[in-house]
Amino acid sequence: MKILKISFSAFLLVVLGLALLTPAQAKMAPSRSMNIYPYYYPYFIFNKDISNIKSTDNVGSIHVPKVSEVIKKLK
């Protein structure tokens, strides 16, 4: 239990440390940034928006074939 406690505390501290690195100013111009966002929408300070990364990028990603592709192959 102690190991779990310590390791998880360390994990959270890393996350807190990263979160505190918020840039001092907004990245977008104020007039355009106050747009109507549907939900909570943070700055992407680490610029690692997953949707922009392709499966060919060397970040240990695995592309899973679509169900329809699998069915096609099986047929």
């Binding site: 979160a19 106050m34 966002y37 949707s51 679509k66 169900v67």
Partner: protein, 702 residues
């Protein structure tokens, strides 16, 4: 008052007949509302045989929970099988009353004694000026918010300036904390305080708050008319069915129900659930501990109107009962926890799945004391399954729907998880006073503060229980981490994933609530023994912290937070009506606008028309956020100077093949495109309207 067995039979027959008559609208709505309450009370009185069969110790709180869950789940099943209409509800009612008749004739119903136990609300302290001072402040503040409803879509419910309001709140909090330490318990003061803390959105936003609730109301209207709505989404139904039942009987509007029914149920059950929990643990159970623990646990949650909140409610009640089971080993508690988790799962699997796995897992381990290696290993397995369940279910659900899927390394993308804790886009840190910076720093570290407090503050005798509860919370936290950093599914924005992750974080925080409640209860008992000077200093400090949390609980507009309008305004409906009237209906055109207008149009004129574009349904307003029209609209709105011809060509390419040759472009004073873009739009327009310099509508024919 004693009701004999025959009396119950007589009541059942009368209520059944009246309910049937009401369903076919032969009884006025206000009587229908009462009828629904009477039905509930009758079922409540006859529940004992079922609880006995399930081997659950009977108590009023259990019975209330059980019945609410039964309503939610049974009506959801009916929704899926036949849809909701007068006849299916009639069948449901006949089944319920049939169960009572069955119990009556098999001799399981006994006479019921109803004792309206007098709650000593006022006690002797009505003579204390302190009591009246608090009451007057609370009434004044609540009255103020009621007196000034928001219809202009103000992004914040806080009036500006509101210094007097915050000072009064601070004074009331200080006096209440003083009473708490003196162990003076008063239901009225505590519930009014709770209402003031959490109810401001419901009180002030008479036209509904935010975007989601408009869609919910539109969906509810549709279901009321057609019985079901497709595409059939498993989310939300558990709440919808309750709202439709209430609407069918009482005629209360869905706007009213979305605004009040959800919050009332949430706050009511949290309030009495927390009190019941502390009483069972034989700790100081002052009603006031509930609002204080909630506000200290939660800056940042302010809206209890969505199905997510109702699902969360059942998750929270489940965790209270898991805590009670682990500390007292009464199996009834665990069974109630399973029922609550099921209800949570039915309403919103995001919240429910995790806690459901824990309750079922612990049920299998109910005889074990979780002391040896084998038991700990089993708990570890539950932990792993619970941590992975939400994302696996989400991935599988979407993969089976033939969505593209890519899996990533969550450690590499840990920064995405940290993104959840960073500033939202509407925070600008240009120039602000130091004290405001401090308040926002508190907001930022709040989650970690609470987590470390729960993790490291020992609770005598209950430390092992605390350990399991923290594990449950951590498993939800891990789900949040994996959700934002381990996969990508086509059709979902990164923003969607962040939003879901954020919600899971809130769930993880709520799961710590029983621990915070116990800690606060012990702390305030201890504070009684502290020297008076220190005691007062600590009370002042906590009062300030609570006032800050109250401020942070709702969206703000100050030197850091610059939130924009995100609720429908009264004037927005004028624009929606204008377009509808100008076209004499909904066909033959599309509308590019911010999504609040689309949601308002759904509420006013219902769903559809939808057009098939590349195999997908496209709504005639630029909705949802991820739709093609919406992304073009957002691009035009956020560009500074570029020529928008290519965007217009894109619109043309989408709508021309559908036989549509015109579209409306709508922008507002709250969010308008760059001046050069406005020039281009006006140049191209074949007609345009200006509504009170607040809404601008441009009609473009192509």
């Amino acid at each position: 008052m004693l009701i004999s067995k025959k009396g119950i039979l007589f009541l059942s027959v009368v209520l059944l007949i009246l309910s049937v008559i009401k369903l076919f609208n032969f009884i006025p709505n206000f009587l229908g509302g009462f009828l629904l309450v009477f039905d509930f009370v009758l079922f409540f009185l006859c529940l004992d045989p079922i609880l006995k069969y399930l081997k659950i110790t009977s108590s009023n709180f259990f019975k209330t929970l059980f019945l609410l869950i039964y309503y939610s789940i049974s009506l959801s099943l009916i929704y899926y099988i036949t849809g909701l209409n007068n006849f299916s509800i009639l069948a449901w009612l006949i089944f319920n009353f049939g169960v009572i008749f069955f119990f009556y004739f098999s001799g399981k119903i006994k006479s019921v004694k109803i004792s309206l136990s007098t709650i000593k609300i006022f006690k002797a302290d009505v003579k204390s000026p302190e009591f009246w001072a608090i009451l007057i402040i609370l009434f004044f503040l609540i009255g103020y918010f009621f007196y000034y409803p928001i219809i202009d879509g103000s992004p914040t419910p806080w009036p500006k300036p509101f210094l007097i309001g915050f000072t009064l709140f601070l004074i009331a909090t200080f006096l209440l904390l003083k009473r708490l330490i003196a162990e003076k318990n008063n239901l009225i003061l505590a519930s009014l305080y709770f209402f003031l803390i959490t109810g401001i959105i419901a009180i002030r936003y008479v036209l509904s708050y935010g975007y989601d609730t408009l869609i919910h109301q539109g969906s509810l209207k549709y279901i009321l008319e057609y019985g079901q709505i497709s595409p059939l989404t498993p989310f939300y139904i558990g709440q919808y069915v309750l709202e439709i039942l209430v609407n069918m009987f009482s005629g209360l509007s869905f706007t009213f129900l979305e605004r009040w029914a959800g919050p009332t149920l949430f706050l009511g059950l949290i309030f009495f659930g927390g009190h019941y929990f502390l009483r069972r643990l034989k700790l100081q159970n002052n009603f006031l501990l509930i609002p204080i623990s909630v506000i200290l646990l939660f800056p940042n949650i302010f809206s209890y109107t969505s199905p997510y909140a109702l699902s969360l409610l059942w998750g929270i009640i489940a965790i209270l009962f898991i805590f009670l089971f682990l500390s007292q080993r009464n199996e009834s508690d665990l069974k109630i926890a399973i029922f609550c988790s099921l209800a949570s799962f039915f309403i919103h699997p995001f919240v429910g799945l995790n806690i459901l796995i824990w309750s079922i897992g612990l049920y299998f381990l109910r005889k074990n004391k979780i002391q040896n290696v084998k038991d700990r290993l089993l708990v570890g397995i539950i932990f792993v399954i619970a941590s992975l369940a939400v994302i696996l279910a989400f991935i599988l659900y979407n993969w089976l729907k033939d969505s593209g899927l890519t899996i990533y390394n969550p450690l590499y993308f840990i920064g995405n998880f940290a993104n959840i804790f960073t500033d939202p886009v509407w925070y600008l840190r240009d120039k602000y006073p130091w004290w405001l910076g401090l308040i926002y720093f508190y907001e930022k570290i709040h989650f970690f503060l609470i987590f470390f407090l729960a993790l490291y503050w020992p609770i005598k005798k209950l430390d092992k229980v605390k350990g399991i509860i923290i594990l449950i919370s951590i498993s939800t936290l891990i789900s949040a981490w994996l959700f934002v950093s381990s996969f990508k599914i086509d059709n979902y924005f990164y923003g969607d994933q962040i939003n879901y992750g954020y919600r899971l974080i809130q769930v993880a925080k709520w799961f710590l609530w029983p621990i915070i409640l116990v800690l606060l209860s012990i702390f305030f008992t201890y504070l009684k023994k502290v020297k008076i000077i220190w005691r007062y200093l600590i009370i002042i400090l906590i009062s300030v912290l609570i006032t800050i949390s109250w401020y942070l609980t709702y969206p703000r507009q100050d030197d850091i937070s610059h939130m924009n309008v995100n609720s429908i305004r009264k004037i927005d409906y004028r624009a929606i009506n204008l377009i509808y009237d100008n076209e004499s209906g909904k066909n033959g055109y599309v509308v590019l606008s911010n999504q609040i207008f689309g949601a308002g149009a759904i509420l006013k004129y219902g769903f559809g028309p939808y057009y098939k574009v590349e195999g997908e349904d496209m709504f005639y307003y630029s909705l949802p956020w991820g739709s093609k029209l919406s992304s073009i609209y957002n691009k035009i709105m956020t560009t500074e100077t570029e020529n928008i011809n290519s965007d217009l060509k894109q619109i043309k390419d989408i709508i021309k093949p559908l036989g549509i040759n015109k579209f409306y472009f709508v922008y507002t004073d709250a969010w308008s495109p760059a001046p050069k873009i406005i020039e281009q739009l006006n140049y191209l327009s074949s007609d345009h309207w200006n509504i009170d310099n607040k809404i601008f509508i441009v009609l473009i024919k192509i």
